[in-house]
Symmetry: C3
Subunit: 261 residues, 3 copies
């Protein structure tokens, strides 16, 4: 059970601390990521100009980097932001969105990974492909793909000394030794765009206030539980988004513990 090790009041701490999350994220996700961060209790800041990174990133409490609508100038800003975060001991999250769709993006994901993010979050395909390019994802071709992704995630976590979160119907988190599963959510969630991107930004917010593994687990539990509640009230993806943001803003620490194992 994770419950014993998780900081029990991390959600309350998030709201009390109100950390600033510097997001360099894709255009599709910007509005919903900012709204998720605000609803959860932290402060988003979308800033991407290379001219601003060295001034601004050190003022933030966490950084979220998402390559969803990547381009050459944005990649330069992401790279500098990761380096500045490292130099200032600021945690940063990498979301390697669909990094396998082009040589440009594949290389970008690898280069960012080499800068050692605090947490990587992706779906099973993304994590498998990320590990495969390292020669670490051998399990991908045989047996259960979800199990293969977990094995790949553990290898990546050990190789880069980071936390890996693999999200899906059941979320999986590992630091290379511990393994935690988070249940809940709604089958409507994949029908709402950019929720995964927004989740990465929420993980970043939590890494500002707690140990990386606990922070990741609490972010996922917060997200899954809000998804469960919204799914019970929604009539489809439109009303889901509205209920989901409401639920993120009203949940308490006590609501989150049951979904973590």
């Amino acid at each position: 059970m994770m419950n014993a090790m998780a900081t029990p009041d991390l959600l309350t701490a998030l709201r009390d601390t109100n950390p600033i999350v510097h997001c360099i994220t894709n255009y599709v996700s910007m509005n919903i990521a900012a709204n998720v961060i605000l609803a959860a209790g932290a402060s988003p800041a979308m800033v991407h100009a290379h001219e601003e990174i060295e001034d601004f990133t050190p003022l933030c409490n966490a950084v979220s980097i998402n390559i969803g609508t990547l381009s050459v100038p944005w990649l330069a800003s992401m790279t500098t932001a990761a380096q500045v975060a490292n130099n200032h001991d600021i945690p940063w999250i990498l979301d390697p969105v669909a990094h396998f769709i082009s040589q440009f993006r594949r290389q970008a994901a690898q280069d960012l990974l080499n800068l050692r993010p605090t947490v990587v979050r992706g779906n099973a395909s993304e994590i498998l492909a990320l590990a495969g390019e390292q020669g670490a994802g051998k399990g991908a071709d045989a047996g259960d793909p979800v199990e293969a992704a977990h094995t790949a995630g553990q290898s990546l976590a050990r190789q880069y000394d980071m936390v890996v979160a693999i999200t899906g119907p059941t979320d999986y988190v590992t630091d290379g030794s511990k393994e935690i599963h988070i249940s809940g959510g709604s089958e409507i969630m994949p029908r709402v765009t950019a929720l995964g991107c927004a989740l990465s930004a929420l993980i970043a917010a939590y890494t500002a206030i707690g140990p990386r593994l606990d922070a990741t687990v609490t972010a996922l539990a917060h997200f899954k539980t809000a998804g469960t509640l919204a799914g019970q009230k929604a009539n489809g993806p439109g009303s889901f988004e509205s209920h989901f943001l409401d639920a993120l803003s009203t949940l308490k620490d006590d609501n989150l513990t049951g979904v973590i194992a």
Copy 2:
């Protein structure tokens, strides 16, 4: 009656096939276009970097190009995406948003049109102006402007061997010989931003799974019918958007036939 010729189960086919729609669209529309595509039953992919187009576009089932917040680098990506789509027999849609507002955009719309889209979607003003620049929109200055737009649309459809969709209170679709009208919708729709852009992306999704004329008609019928349902429940443009996405996700093929004539 269109009903006899329309593929009767195109909406079910969309959900079963789940085609990938590569969207290069304006910033305002990205989130709602992705949500419309997801709610309807397909998969959106917003990718614009020129470095990725040649790798990524061939992996997609349709392309949606929208010049709403056009810039020089994005135009280069749109042009390459249209060329790659042509080379791979992938259908692509052009949405020439307000192409008459500047010389830059007017030229861009003409250059993209010369690459022969599968479908062009616009409002009456946009189609009239597009035809007028060809010398084909002579009817624009006299009589009923809606009728003039239909005549212009037919000329354009013949000239470029494409389908033209003119959307408004009643939608009009032509391939240069056949003419189909789609009724329904809600007067709230023009008060929600980027719905037209999202509709173009939905047409792209349907062109991935059916003949271009049937695909366009079914996309418009799906959109109009969802608009009708949402309009009955909404208290204004905010609640409309929520109900509209819900309706897109719950409609069945049988719900669409009555609005096509």
Copy 3:
């Protein structure tokens, strides 16, 4: 009391006139700003390419410039748009979002301010920092920060011959001599992203149809009153946004007068 001097039917006039608002605004705010303008009764146009500004800006009735996700090419377009607006006597609004976070943004805000916007809207921190860089915000270090921001706003208004709007729990508007307060709203509003940016765009819409001070006050009253209504119905930030847009679209002039003092 402001009521005596405010144009009593400015909201009706907005809907009747339907002015076009050229917005060069940040990525996070684009969709919600467009939806706010549409819900209120005007027409948004998001256009940022430098190639289009000289053709397009003169066709518009107001311009809204917001530096929220600033970059070098966008700043060039903002600068040209402000100059074109000045040359054509088109009112324009500056929203100096978080201009204190980097040297790049600080300089950009100052350069745009030197082009003499019709209205500047910001929160207390932004207005204080803007004045401080002029040596005009001496009051910022002592006493009540809200009072200090009001003093700073008055100085700025006089120095640049403009209207300054400082928004917060109670909004404050000044042209350097008159002072107006607008009450209402909801404590949920700061938990919805980009509402301040959308408000700046709404001020722009009103400046197209009324004197700058009345226009600003009416925009703020329209926004605050919609916020009050939405706050009464909402269960959190997700449902708030939906109710808020609905309320913007249904309010009448008579609903706005009580909140202005």
